[in-house]
């Protein structure tokens, strides 16, 4: 019964995403550009797309051993695997406390634990297929207080699905106590739909259920206006030219001083964005596929998307 209902609703399923979009529009040879965050970062910097600064790179176990000395040079920073996926293996350090590190969740971590964590990253514990990896230390974004009232101790970001260079759907990803500071929906973060036309948040989704308040803080999720929305969308749309990937998820965070920064790109973005927006993806993707002529610049594509994909009132 419901299979037909699903089909007629235009919801994008995982098989369809893989067969009709990822396999079709994401050439395998471009994957390393997004799977390796170091490559992404260098590429983006070359193209003038703003990303968090790279502070340090750890490539060998010996460097991992010496890392605590290097880290003394930074007051706050993020440690992440270059080829990680789904936010795994990322540590956000907010301050040094008597030779230990304060994580964004408030917990403390000692030097040995840090060395072990980085050594695990290098061994490939978080990389696809267990390939040896490298660890990046980068600038910790000073979050713009837009999502302050609806974020529990962590790193909120904005996910934009960019199809053939058009931003088709967007959501805010807000950490909760359950997601321990991480912004991934399957780890228990709240997803909140964002109207492409206006950059204003709507209702949210938590573990597949619709919610209107943040589960830990109780503040309403809807009605938050993202500043510099159009600029953010243009930044995201530019990732099409940057990577050559037709179907890509762009994760963006707002820095208090630097404005929107690209955190990472994802060649296999998830489907929960449909739940957060309470809107199916397929009609929007088909609208782009059916365009007789596609717009040349990111700015034009963003204007088209803002007009076309405005949320119904």
């Amino acid at each position: 019964m419901s299979f037909f209902k699903l089909r007629s609703s235009g919801i994008l399923g995982i098989n369809s995403r893989n067969a009709d979009f990822i396999l079709k529009y994401n050439p395998r040879k471009f994957y390393p550009l997004v799977d390796n965050k170091l490559l992404t970062k260098r590429l983006a910097q070359k193209a003038g797309i703003t990303v968090p600064d790279l502070l340090h790179v750890v490539e060998t176990q010996r460097q991992a051993k010496l890392l605590p000395d290097v880290l003394l040079g930074f007051t706050d920073f993020v440690v992440k695997p270059a080829s990680g996926s789904g936010g795994d293996g990322i540590l956000v350090i907010t301050e040094h406390v008597k030779g230990r590190y304060r994580l964004s969740t408030g917990e403390l971590m000692d030097k040995d634990e840090m060395r072990y964590h980085v050594s695990n990253i290098l061994s490939g514990m978080y990389s696809l297929g267990g390939q040896p990896d490298i660890a990046l230390v980068e600038y910790r974004i000073k979050f713009d207080p837009i999502f302050e009232k609806v974020t529990f101790k962590g790193v909120p970001d904005i996910r934009v699905i960019v199809f053939l260079g058009y931003p088709v759907m967007s959501m805010g990803r807000l950490p909760t106590r359950a997601s321990s500071g991480k912004a991934n929906l399957h780890q228990g973060a709240v997803g909140v739909g964002i109207d492409i036309a206006t950059g204003v948040t709507g209702r949210g989704v938590l573990r597949g259920e619709t919610v209107d308040e943040h589960p830990d803080l109780g503040n309403p999720l809807a009605g938050i206006r993202i500043p510099e929305w159009e600029k953010l969308l243009v930044l995201a749309a530019g990732c099409y030219e940057l990577t050559g990937l037709g179907y890509v998820g762009v994760d963006i965070a707002h820095d208090a001083t630097l404005g929107p920064l690209i955190l990472e790109l994802n060649a296999r973005p998830g489907l929960n964005i449909q739940l957060a927006n309470r809107t199916p993806l397929l009609p929007r993707l088909q609208a782009i596929e059916d365009l007789p002529v596609r717009h040349a610049t990111a700015a034009e594509r963003v204007r088209f998307a803002m007009e076309r994909f405005a949320a119904p009132l």
Binding site: S2, F3, K5, L6, R7, S9, I11, G13, I14, N15, S16, N18, A19, D20, Q61, D88, G89, D112, R115, Y116, S119, N120, S123, G124, M125, H186, Q187, V205, G208, E209, T210, L271, Q274, L275, R278, P280
Partner: protein
Amino acid sequence: MKSNHVHYLVAFLLLVGFGLFAYKFFYLKFPLMPEAEVSVWTVEAEVEFTAQGGPAKFTLYLPGAQPDYKVMSECFVSGKYGRVTRGGPRRSEWALQEAKGKQTLFYRVVVGKRGAAGAEEPQVEGKAKKVEYSGIYKIAADALLEDVKAKSADSESLVTELLKRLEGSARRDENVGVFMKPGSSVTAKAATAVNLLRYAGMPARVVSGIALANFKRDVPVFTWIEVFHDGKWNSYNPLTGEVDIANDYLILSQSNNGLYKLIGGKSLVIQVSVSKNQAPALEAVFAQKGASNHLLFDFSALSLPIRAQSVYRLILMVPIVVLILTVFRNFVGVRTYGTFMPALIALAMLNTGLFWGVFLLLWLVALGMGARLYLAKLRLLMVPRIGSLLIIVVILMFLTSVSCNLMGLSGGLNIAFFPMIIITMTIERMSVVWEERGGFESLLQGAGSLVVAVCAYPLITNEFVENLFFVFPELLLPLLAGTVAMGRYSGYRLTELFRFKSLLGG
């Protein structure tokens, strides 16, 4: 165009697969069901020895006429050797003037069970030749037999008593000591018993044979004796004196020498394997060989050596499990650890059985997770850590087998069939997922793997299915068509009905 190509490929695979199947089934009459009509066994003996440089002669005693089975065909692989089959007792002699290094010879025989009506009258003939002793042997034999006869009521108890004397008291009994040294082989004991019985006027012979099983490699060869009394040949175990040879034994040799004789070689190894086949299929193979359909018969799995056949019976099950796995992952949306881990678990369960399989897997993974938790505290680098975990898994498997054996739980012994590398990687990944995503997610994926394996189990243990794919391996093509077609399925998964429920309801 691309998707059309897939359609053509799928159609082609289906057509060829089912076409061949239909041709073999309807026209060549290959059997669909296992256990069709008469049972036929193929017995193979692979002989390997090291020649010492010089003439080498190997004699293998061959199965002759016997009440329960008849020889349907035989085949010999001799290499450089000259070979001749001689009678009384039936044997094959391989000889080579100059042999050096490793030598391999091969014998295959197909035997069929006789129907109740076709049983041949047992013959006494040559085997009854009387043995004569003289001197000390005559005195010892007379004394021994007199003693035994005094303690027995009929022929059966006489034979039993004699065998007991030979087995138990070679050291103490001087009369027995004349014929046999203490610690003689079973064959030597059997030969002594037979000679003594013949001296006493009872027809007797030494026989060696194997138990006929469905599929078995490295079948042990037993030696026992047969004595003719009460109008038939009766079997006795030379070690216990009991009448305990079941009738599913095939007699390979009726010689006092056991199964073989080797001159000019050493380190001899004989590997005997047995497989049960369907008579109609085989009869068709033998009847039509050389006729028009040569190729299809040669390409049948039945033409393989038995050792390879039993391997392929297992391997041909793998595609079925993979098909089920694909359905579960892409249609249902079950999440599993690794793509093929459930398939390997299901195959391991073929040996352990369902209950023990599930129990042992959970046991092993639970203990392994505990060990992994401890290893994480040691902060080892990844490869040494997984290596250590693997060693711990092997130790756990070993300890489980040993303790199950001590407790008399034979099911636990089969834990060794679980692929330890895959189990180790599963434990490692479950731990990582547990740390990163929490226990629920970790257990969910673990449960998914187990569910797929358990669902595949009834299918791959089904004798009909096993036989079907073994006799009609071309059915793998439709299976391939199935996975290729599923590769292009871009519809929804069953779990997505629930995932997107809130979007549909509103």
